[in-house]
Subunit: 173 residues, 2 copies
């Protein structure tokens, strides 16, 4: 039982987008470069995040992706569900109805004890992730990063803005 | 992100084994028949449960599988981990170390905030399943089963014992 790597990439991409100045955006290629992941895979996660209303594709000068809502209104569960879906982890095939002693429909008004316990555990899992806003991720990362690394990230973001503006202008002329 | 169907089968099989009189056992084929699942798949789950020390294969007259320890000392997490493994759901590939602004090893003394939050949610999931002993599953199922179904299950178990004893005796003679 594994979560796709896409969730990790998507979460890190959202953390980078949370650092952008208001109104600005980053191209998917820049995010792929920042995280050193193949651009097609990064694009796939960004599309999933976009479909879920977590990021927005912005056109025009310095176009690209930006968060669709404030970082404190985006949780790790939102990101995981966007990429991995929100279907139950445990698959109940109603085994209790099977075989020579199978339960009748009348005996199954609700989920069986096994399915109910797995559902309840999954709720605990989701609630734990839903309680972590992107702002907490960014604040935690900022606490452990050195001043030198923070400076490097700021300069990288500024350079990406300059380059995507220039590319856009040269395409238009 | 899906759990294998084997977990459901294994959990139901353990619930059946919890109904057996002390010292008795059921062949894997009988459990497969009870749950109406293919015998090879049932055998695979029973092997996983056996490797994890949850069931024991008993030889001799009326041989087969029985619980290896009391039902109140077997949790749903024990069963899920036996079949599905206990590897983390979230795969951390240390994305923070990647790219032009990657963190140095010195900046990564512990897991990043994203990995830590997923680990914490997984702990909540495991603890919720670990808090459900097999005895609770059986007691809950007994509350919703009709007297007629309980009788049918008792008779099925008794018939299986008679048949597996007869087969064993005929093989020996």
């Amino acid at each position: 039982m594994k979560m796709s790597k896409g969730v990790e990439w998507a979460a890190h991409a959202c953390a980078v987008l949370a650092l952008l100045p208001p109104g600005s955006a980053l191209p998917g290629e820049a995010l792929a470069d920042f995280l050193d992941v193949p651009p097609p895979y990064m694009a796939k996660q960004l599309q999933a995040l976009s479909r879920a209303g977590i990021v927005t594709a912005q056109r025009g000068v310095a176009g690209g992706y930006r968060l669709a809502r404030p970082a404190d209104a985006i949780s790790l569960w939102d990101i995981a569900a966007a990429v991995e879906g929100s279907a139950p982890i445990f698959r109940c095939t109603e085994v209790r109805r099977n075989g020579p002693c199978g339960a009748s429909p009348a005996e199954c008004p609700g989920p069986c004890e096994i399915a109910a316990a797995f559902r309840s555990a999954e709720t605990a899992y989701r609630q734990a992730l839903a309680a972590v806003p992107l702002t907490d991720i960014v604040a935690g990362a900022a606490r452990t990063a050195t001043a030198e690394r923070k400076q490097r990230i700021t300069e990288w973001i500024e350079r990406e803005f300059r380059e995507s503006s220039r590319e856009w202008t040269s395409k238009r002329n």
